[in-house]
Every structure is written in structure tokens, then in C-alpha cells.
Amino acid sequence: MALLRRLAFAVPLLASMALAGCASNDGAVQSQKLGAIKARDKLICGVEGKLPGFSFVNPDGSYTGLDVDVCKAVAAAVLGDPAKVEYRDLNSSERFAALASGEVDLLSRNTTFTLSRDAAGGNGLSFAPPVFYDGQGVMAPTASGVKRLADLAGKPICVETGTTTELNLADRMREIKAAYTPLKFQTSDQTYAAYLQGRCAAVTSDRSQLAAKRTSFPDPAAHALLPDVLSKEPLAPATTNADPAWADAVRWVVFALMQAEESGISQASVDARVAQAKADTNQADLRRFLGVEGDFGKHLGLPPDFVVRAVKAVGNYGEIFERNVGAGSQLKLERGLNRQWKDGGLIYSPPFR
């Protein structure tokens, strides 16, 4: 019986491997996940859902934010329509299981890129390039007189459980040998509710998230971010190690958004640039990037013009940043580390060739 069952699984598996082997000869990619997404004609994207600037539900039920725009860009690149996304709100403790079990195709949920999460022996994720370089910060009421991390010794600190934040806080407090009480909550809304009710002397999270939440407080000026930066927090979209072809596709869609900004291609100008590339055969870089020539799309299992589709759907990286968290948003965050490498930032796309 067991033997039969094993055979029943093994035969299609071997067959599909053989098929994949044959198919890879002509450059096209066989990815189970890509196939599944195309068959269902919908990308399932795991997001936070309650974080202004990154992913937030509007009163009309639609999602917006930087993380959401990544989902839309990938959906546009794969399926040709940024609206073909189904969003799943995930809390921080269920996100990896949701990804590992295949419940979501893509996790775009302010997730920190770390070794243990990336490694096959750890969570076994596969990270796309960070879309937001952040650092962990601490926020405290200005009236409390807390000025530095060390002032929090012996006091309760609110933190969302299941995050790197929780671990970094433990590490930093151990370094400065300060005892403290971590009050842990399952969701960000509980965490900030407890903080605002005065249960904790401070709340810790990514600095961008703190800034985002502060804008929604009744009196934002009454709360200040401490100067201490507890950690590096490169926030990146993630898929699993199980399907490298799908991970590559997501990785290069994100790079495309960054490269588009570097090449000066915006949502408004992308059509003109395509026309220009088509007309001028000498612009080899541009032609390859926009899919006018070459078969980059095919290598990734995506349509040839996936870059054009993604940029047309959500704009380039700079536009996404400004619209959701930058000057054009309520959060008004500085570009800081998230500038292009030419301007002294960390946003750097490897060459499209």
C-alpha cells in the first residue's frame, strides 16, 4: 500500500522533473508557483494590513502602501494587472508559516532580512532586495523624561511579539545591563493601545513604523523617538527557498523598480521611453531593460515587457517611496538610507544584462 502510494507520488514528480529538465533547454522557466499563480490568475500577497504607509485598508476596503505597491508591481509583471492581488492580513507570528505552507505566494510585510530567516536550516525564506532600510527605534512620551535607552532600566516596554524587535531589544538591554519588563502583544493595535493607555514607559519598533503610528496618535507632539538606533532593519519582500525560479522573478521585479528610478523612467514617462527605445536601436541598455530586445523576461518566466508593466502600474521606486511614506504622504519620512546609490543611499540594482 505504502509502496503504491509512494510510487503514485514519485511518478508525476519524476515526470515533472524530466519535463522541467527538457524545458530549461530552450530558456523558458518552469516554476510551480508561477504556474499556480497564472492558473489562478491572482497573486496572493501577505501584508500587515494595519500600518499606515506600508499597508493599510482604506475606508472603501482597498489596500495602499509601500508593501502593497510591491504586491501590485509583481502582479502587474506576472499577470499584467496590478488589481489581480488578493491580500491576506497576517500578524507577525503567523507570517512565515503562511508562506512556508504556500498559503501566500509572496510576503510583503515589513519583514527584516536576517540570516536565520534566510538560511535553509532556519525559516528557509528567500528574500528579495530590501525595499526599505530601517532601524529599530524607541518612542516614549516627551513628558516622561526618558531621553536615552538607559533611562528605561527597570521600566515596562511594549513590544509586538514574534518580531526581530523583541530579540534586538533583549540584546541591547543585556549589553547595557539594564533590567526591563517586555510587555508583549500579538498585534500592533494592541501594542500601541497599551502604550497609549500608559501601561508602558516606551514602545519599540522599526523607526518608520513608530513615525507612521505617531501620526495617528491624538497628540503626536507628545511622543518623541529616542536617538538610540537598536539595530539594522532591512525590510524586504520574501518568498520561500522551495521555488528558486519564483524567488528570482520577484527579486528582479523589485530590482526593476529601482533600476527604473536610476534610469529616470517614471510611471508617466514609461510609454514615451518605450517608443524611444523602439525607435533608436543604439540604446541597447534601455532596449534590453524595457524588453524591446533580448529575452530577460523569458529567463525569469515573465512576459518580455514585465518592467514596463510593473512601472506603469505603480511607478518607479522613488515614486512609490514618495507617494506612500515620503513627502507626498502623511508620514513625511526622509529618503535617508533609501536614496539611490548615486545620491549616497543603499538602493542599488545590479545591471540588467
Partner: protein, 413 residues
Amino acid sequence: MEPLIRRLRRELFATPLDGLVSIALIALLLAAATAFVRWALLQAEWAVIQANSTLFAVGRYPQEQQWRLWLLTALLAAATGLSWGLLRGLPHRGRLGRPWPPNDRLAALVLAGLALAVPPALGLQPAIQQRWWLITALLLGVRWAAGRWAPALPPALRRWIPLLWPVLYLLGMVLISGGLGLIQVPPSEWGGLLLTLMQASFAILLCFPLGILLALGRRSELPLLRWGSVVYIEFIRGAPLITLLFLGQNLLGFLLPGGMAPDRVWRAAWVLTLFAAAYVAEAVRAGLAAVPAGQLEAARSLGLPFPQALIHVVLPQALRVALPATVGQFISLLQDTTLLSLIGLLELLGTARAVMANPAFLGRNAEVYLVLAVLFWCCCAALGLGSRALETRLNPYTSTNATTATPAAPAQA
């Protein structure tokens, strides 16, 4: 009738100690009541309920499709009116009931009062208020008509009327989720009270037959069936619901081949069903134990095959005994749907938590929790009342002191 003064004296001031206790309690109650009224009128801000009433009711269900839910509500109201009217209007065990007993008049009055008072109090739009009035009028109208003309119904037709409910349930599923020419609305867009009721009704409908099977399995003479049922029932009853839900959300994806795992809303519904089935099984088992063994033996010796003896003789008696405990399980199942908010589903409590994360309504916990508590209390109390009515009707020795269904003892988490 005892004069009020004397009655008060007997009840409250029988002894000096009683008097002291009574005075202290009255003072305490008065203080609490004034504090509450002052809070409700002066401090509470009900805008959080008014602004989010749609979210609380149906979650992110698409606006342009909400007519389907209104239609379903109207159909449900009509069916309720019909069943209620027939229950009173049809002769029962040869006796013709009174079409409008005092309790029914009171209930109708309360319903009308609620329909008139609650929508304006919640600040709903006039169009929606009118819909509630229409639906209440429909319910009471059908109730009146059914009670009036029920005795005239041909008996052949009467027998088929209970079938209305399963048909309506299936129709409701189609109306809510789409199909048959209606636009699909995926489960991820159901929310609020709609999701709570969907989950509870789905689990209640399925856990009942499952529970009966498990109870029969546990009392079976076949060792494999017996031990299988025992292991299942004890395993489920030994674990907190939250760990089972957690298992369903995190592990089911691993237990099934990729992509075969159902949507997380359905996943939760199945976990609730399988969970409640174990508790219903115990209630039914107690009912089975109350049926004398002679009943089965007599039925068998009359030549009835075992399955038929079970279905026609033993189970009807057992289920009648098990009814209060079973309905108690249903009530706690309804309450247990709140745990879905802990695994990120936006049912009533999940919606409430999402609403309170909205900066505009920060710190309005008390108002939201109070409204939710009232809603749940009404639903649970209504289930309990319904069970008591059913019990008196099913009871062959119409006794007056029937026990009420109460939330089952092990209100599980």
C-alpha cells in the same frame, strides 16, 4: 395577589440582617446605575459605532453586492414569521393553540419597538432605517397571516414546510458567496456579524450529525470504532480551542498537498465544527445512556433491524434528553467564534479590534465592547429561549418546569 408592600417586606426585610443587606445592595445598585447612565450619556462617544456600522455588520463585503444580504435578511424574516405563525396556529397533539398568546404579543411588541428605536439610535441612514422597518413589518405580517390561516393548510403541504429552512440555508450560501450567475464574493471579504453568524451556523449544522456519529461510535460494541471515537473525543476535549485553531492555520498547509488547503475562513469553520462535534458527542452520549436498554431490545425483538431500531426508537428519545446540553454547546460555539479574532479573521470581535486601531477611534474600547456584549448576549439568550420552547413542545409529558438550555458547562477556549 399579595399587596406590593407586604411582598417587599417579606422578600427584602424579613430579618434585620436581611434589611441591612437589602439596603446595602440597593445603594450599590443605585450608585452603579447612575455611574453607568452618566458615562453612557456624557462620556461615551457613540460615533465609533455609527461610523462603522457597515463594517460591524458585514465587514468588507462589496457595497454594490450588499443587496444580496438584504434580500437574504428579508427571506429569513419571512421564514421566521411563517414558522412562528405555524407553530402557534397549527393544532398540536390534538389541541389547537391560541394564535396570539400573551408571550407572543410581548415578543412582537419588543420587535417592533427595537426596529423603531435601534436604527435611529445608531444613526443609520434613512434608507437603511426604512429597510429595517420593512423587514420587521414583513416578519410580523407573515407571522399574523400564518397564524390566521394555518389551520386551513392541507396536511400534505404542512409536512414539507420545515424543509424550507435547509433550502433557505443553501440559498443563503449562494447569495452570500456568489455563483449561479451572481458575482463571486471571496470569503476574505466577509466580515463582522455576517462572518460570525456564517461560522457559527455552519459549525452548528455540521457538528450535530458528526457528534451523533461519534457518540454512537463511542457506545459501539466494535472495539475499533469505540476506541477511535474515544481517542478523538478525548484528544479534542483535552486541547484548548485556540491551539486547535492555531494548528489549523499553521499546520494544515503542511498536512495537505500544496494548494489543496482550503481558504483560512473555511479552515477555521472546519476546526470549529470538528471541535464542537466532540462536545456534542458527549452530550448525545449522556442522552443515549438515559434510554433504557430495554427500548433497543424491544425494538429488535419486534423485528426491526438494528439501524432502524436506532433511528426510530433510540435516537429520538436520546436526543430529546440531550437537547438542553446540545443547545448549550451551540451557545458556547457561538461565543467561541470570537477566538477567530486571535488568528486574524475579521469576525465581529476582529472587526472591533481593527476599528479600534483606526486613529479616529482610538481608546473607544468601552463603547465597542459594550455593544458587542449586548449583541452576543441577545443571540445566546435567544438560542436558549428557542431551545426551551422546542423542549416543551417535544416533551411527551408536558411538564411545566423544563430545564433551560444554558451555555454548556465546559465553555472551552
